[in-house]
Amino acid sequence: MTSVMSTVETKPAAGAPMVELRGVHKFFGENHVLKGIDLSVGRGQVVALIGPSGSGKSTILRSINMLEQIEAGEIYVDGQRMGYRADAQGELHDLTEKQIAAQRRHIGMVFQRFNLFPHMTVIENIELSPKLTQRRHGPALRTEAMELLAKVGLSEKADAYPAQLSGGQQQRVAIARALALNPDLMLFDEPTSALDPELVGDVLHVIRDLAESGMTMLIVTHEIGFARTIADQVLFMDQGIIQEQGTPDEVIGHPKEQRTRDFLSKVL
């Protein structure tokens, strides 16, 4: 595929996880935000990440696609070490900006605040990354972008500007935009927490469709009910540590840890 692939370790076996974190630490100055995170998301799996504010959930997602740089540990996506390559002697080298951009193209990310490009129409937002990074254009690209837009139920909004859409519609466009490069993995950071309650349903519906289509997803959410029904695995996080993990029934239905119970009693 890209030159990055060839320089990074061997391709994993088919059963290997899509995402794997090993002993990941992140500091913001003195603040130790991630304290040794190990997690893995299998291909086609949906993992929900829950936990109190400030526990480090967003930081995990942002570290995976290198919006934050970790201080220790290893992150693999589809078997590729993110951000570094090892030479023959096993010494690590930083990847160049170009190589990092190439790695990020395998990962779609959806933000709490949408972050659509306000000076472009909906369809321009969606077409931008295939246009610039795959040099694609013309009717074939347009058809594909319109298909994505149909998938999120917004075909009639192709020529609208983001400011003309409701929050829920903007977030669905953001999902379509993230899907435009056919990512192997989708990261969602509280995709519904900036929305009015009546708009949440449409967005969750789109995410659920994606899950059913077999997309690998890591979702940070405060919608516990949603996490319970959509996730294969739920991780409960507090103070920079994954405190408890298991199936939704185990973690949400029958939490073992006191912290988990305290948290769930507050949000449920």
Partner: protein, 287 residues
């Protein structure tokens, strides 16, 4: 005046008498009276010498000076913009040498009068008669030319105006770039867009919205600042030329009017251009 609709879809709209603002009406009447007096005064007062204004407005010397004024404005502004873009990039650099040089540059050119700078550039060829490229402390020399060969009053004027302008524009550009929320660059990064493309397609077009109005002001300011290049001395732009003619005729007023008319006309054209640029980059702004 546009009349409000009185009904739509069979719904009668509220009809009411607006409040009368007596103060505003009086002020408007007084202003109209003063304006009429002023215009009539200008028309009838023979000291304005409108006939001389008409005679010189399209004089070939004036036309040539007008072209020079425009050339100075456009090239100095272009130089200022290019330098300001480089300065803004240098300031963001993580390398402290780059950011310090940019900051010192801006400190210097904002901190001294443009007139002083123009005098300096006028004396540049005296200060450095030979232009030599080589290693410092008496090392090897790669290139050596007489400064006179590429340096003249026009170059001095453009350097003086452009370098001074770059310092102001760099501040304007920085404010423009800082006005873009952090999430925009993050979204571009997350999509795997190369940095340059992200700057060019995402950040710059949005920053333009903030950058254009003050840059339009700067362009208009530049047009008028060209009247100072007499300090170099550069003597082909319109203020100097009209002044020279006026001194010969002993008629300062009509030639001041000639210059003022041309400055106003160009300023108006620049403002129209700014209006269209603002419209182009105003896309997608919430109304």
């Amino acid at each position: 005046m546009l009349r409000k609709p009185t009904q739509r879809d069979g719904v009668d709209f509220i009809r009411s008498r607006p409040v009368r603002h007596l103060g505003r009406i009086i002020a408007a009447v007084v202003l109209i009276y003063l304006a009429v007096c002023l215009i009539d005064g200008m028309r009838t007062n023979s000291n304005y010498h409108w006939d001389v204004v008409g005679q010189y407005l399209f004089d070939v010397r004036i036309m040539r000076s007008l072209v020079w004024t425009l050339v100075l404005t456009v090239i100095s502004m272009a130089l200022g913009i290019v330098l300001a873009v480089i300065l803004s990039l240098m300031r963001e650099s993580r390398n402290p040498v780059n950011s310090s040089v940019a900051n010192i540059w801006i400190w210097f050119f904002r901190g001294t009068p443009v007139y002083t700078q123009l005098l300096f550039w006028g004396l540049f060829a005296v200060l450095y008669p030979k232009f030599t490229l080589g290693l410092p402390f008496g090392g090897a020399t790669f290139l050596s030319v007489d400064t006179q060969q590429f340096y003249n009053a026009a170059v001095a004027a453009i350097l003086g105006l452009g370098l001074n302008e770059s310092a102001y524009l760099a501040e304007i550009f920085r404010a423009g770039f800082q006005s873009i929320p952090k999430g925009q660059m993050e979204a571009a990064d997350a999509l795997g867009l190369p940095r340059r493309q992200a700057m060019w397609r995402i950040i710059l077009p949005q920053a333009m919205r903030v950058i254009i109005p003050p840059t339009g002001n700067e362009a208009i300011g530049m047009l008028k600042t060209t009247s100072l290049v007499l300090a170099v001395p550069f003597t082909l732009e319109i203020t100097y030329v009209t002044n020279a003619i006026a001194n010969r005729l002993y008629l300062p007023i009509p030639l001041l009017l000639v210059a003022a008319i041309w400055y106003l006309l160009i300023t108006s054209i620049l403002m129209v251009g700014q209006y269209f640029l603002e419209k182009k980059f105003g896309k997608g702004v919430a109304v």
